[in-house]
């Protein structure tokens, strides 16, 4: 039974994701489609619109066979660590293929680039470090380093976020010696940050805009499958709100203004005195947006600041993240959802697997204390009775669909 991995956030699952899933099935011929999905907080340092189990359910309903969680310590990270975690998990699930979406769309160019950088990695590292020291953000520094060694030989545009991620996937597939075959599909919506909607494919960003601004339902129906539409609308109906930064603003401001110096030192991602700026701006901030705008600098991009805010909100310490990242293989794999194909696949690889997987919190898994804390933070904006209902999901059976 061949398996193909997808690395996803599904925030929410939309027609573009569905196109990608169909194409990946077609070109790989895989029988089991595995999605490694960020949990309740995402790579760009944001709460997911709806929780991870609800998102897993929507994915299963659209044809994903197995959804596993990309743990927080891998997920809320820059592209290198995000990719490293996702590939490790796919590797330990014995995945045959990885099929990623990219703006570029040509796998040969990614492979070529990987080997080229391998040959020039010293020059690359020097250039990367110099760019970082000059105060460039992480993605910008990579872009500078790529071009400094390859000049115009590189025809992949590294200002595009999915191209960068793609390169990191390839790098980890080879560096970790996984044997996974990488493939890429050209993304049909060209601009990740596009907020306008045209046709049936729209970016997740534009779909979230649509939702937050209460625009007409028909537009939503054009760009997401019916099950996504129902899933996210039901969530709002049942639990009164979706999850977006502004809802966490009072908690975050309270936390920031009551933290001690010694606590700041421990928080993941806090360095170079950024905590002083965060505290000073917190005193005058009247919304999450105004706070972010008063904080942003050349070095601290929107994304890197959002990640720091996520770690503050979830009370995540550098030492606990580092302890997990140092491990050669993940301590555990948390299954969020599967259908009977997914279950059959898991059984087929069980004998040879070096990593245990967990389908419920009834049997605690190694980093569950951290996950519990993160989930408490995620649900903290909801009334207590809704929190209870939603937290119960983690103790239920993950089989969501019989196919």
């Amino acid at each position: 039974m061949k398996a193909c991995g997808l690395i996803v956030e599904y925030n929410p699952y939309h027609n573009g994701h569905h196109y990608h899933l169909q194409q990946a099935k077609k070109i790989t011929g895989a029988e089991c489609m595995i999605a490694v999905m960020s949990g309740n907080f995402l790579q760009r340092g944001e709460p997911a619109l709806v929780d991870k189990f609800t998102r897993a359910k929507m994915a299963i309903e659209q044809g994903i066979d197995l959804v596993v969680e990309l743990p927080y310590f891998y997920a809320v990270q820059h592209s290198e660590l995000f990719a490293n975690g996702a590939i490790k998990i796919l590797h330990h699930l014995a995945t045959d293929f990885l099929c990623f979406g990219s703006e570029h769309g040509e796998i040969a160019d990614f492979n070529h680039l990987y080997h080229f950088i391998q040959q020039h990695h010293k020059a690359y590292d020097v250039s990367l470090n110099r760019a970082l020291k000059e105060g460039n953000s992480y993605p910008k520094a990579h872009d500078i380093a790529f071009h400094s060694i390859a000049g115009n030989d590189i025809n992949i545009d590294f200002t595009q976020p999915n191209n960068i991620l793609g390169y990191q996937y390839i790098k980890n597939i080879y560096d970790l010696g996984t044997g996974i075959t990488p493939l890429t599909i050209k993304r049909r919506n060209s601009d990740y940050h596009d907020t306008e909607i045209h046709g049936s494919i729209a970016s997740a960003t534009s779909i979230r805009h649509l939702l937050m601004e209460h625009q007409e339902q028909q537009q939503l129906a054009n760009v997401v499958p019916q099950s996504t539409k129902e899933g996210i609308e039901q969530y709002k109906e049942r639990f009164q709100s979706w999850h977006e930064w502004q809802a966490y603003f009072p908690l975050l401001q309270y936390k920031v203004l009551t933290m001690k110096k010694e606590e700041w030192k421990q928080i993941q991602g806090v360095k170079e005195g950024i905590e002083n700026r965060i505290v000073e701006t917190a005193k005058r901030a009247d919304s999450f947006l105004s706070w972010m705008n008063s904080l942003k600098t050349k070095r601290y991009t929107w994304t890197s600041l959002q990640r720091i805010f996520t770690h503050i909100l979830t009370n995540t310490y550098t030492k606990e993240v580092d302890a997990e990242l140092r491990k050669e293989k993940p301590d555990a794999i948390r299954i969020l959802g599967m259908n009977t194909t997914g279950k059959t696949y898991l059984n087929s690889i069980k004998k040879n697997s070096e990593v245990k997987w967990y389908t419920s919190n009834k049997k605690p898994y190694p980093y569950q204390t951290m996950d519990d804390r993160i989930d408490h933070a995620y649900f903290s904006i909801l009334p207590p009775s809704y929190q209870l209902q939603l937290k119960k999901q983690a103790y239920q059976s993950p089989i969501l669909k019989f196919n």
Copy 2:
């Protein structure tokens, strides 16, 4: 210029307080009336209905000449430490008298009791420690110890909270060698916890009930001075809410469910594994009241639990409280309000004073970082613009009335 000290919380200032103030003036003949007042959090581990500057203003308008803050590390404590802090401050303000309200009302009996316990302090301590070990709460253990050594010779009822406090005031006045003359006035409303209102004197508890339950304004006007009525009504009008535990429930629940083991160890008042009970009950709590009810035990009284919650909310560590309590005299005295009499009095004692006082946060005082954090926590339930307005008070001049 003779000064008389009162130890108060004024939550809010009512006719009973006013009667006490008038009587104290009359029996001492003092020209300057000094109130040592708890700040934004009170001895019983509660947020004050309205903030400390607003409460100081209401007191000045009714005839108090000088309001100084009883710092948090003294105020949110059991009666021994509360009294110790208050007497230290009055001593360093060169106060001649202390006039306290008590259910008992006879100063000679308090003085007699102090000397009796002095003579039998070893037996008293043995009995106190035994009662504590047996799982009794702090006040109950004191009551047992009093009666074990004095039998029926003691005619002061120590189940009455103001009698216990009174004894602690006397003890500190003598133990610290202050030279303050203690006096007591019999409280006119007999029951501290009374929630029914009769006549013009009502307990602060019953007045808060009246306010929270939106009862008719006339009843309020019967039991508080006009300036209190206006002050607390204006606060609600301007800032949308008063401060009560239920408003802090979401913040507190979020904090409790995201704290780490290593942080719990540091929080003032947390011991004997109570943190595990707090975390477990937090998961199912749907209001502050239901949470408290599920937590209460024989050893952990309502008050002691509320104090722990206050320290959690304000992120107060044992080590910072201990560092302040170890000091022989307070590091600084924070003036919250005064009239011209208060100012004249302060000038008259300045030359001989061993403790510096501060009338504004413009010039930082030694434990201001702690106070700022506590005030941020106190105001955290309000919208950002209101927080800003209220926090500005600390940077303004404290002279509130020219008399």
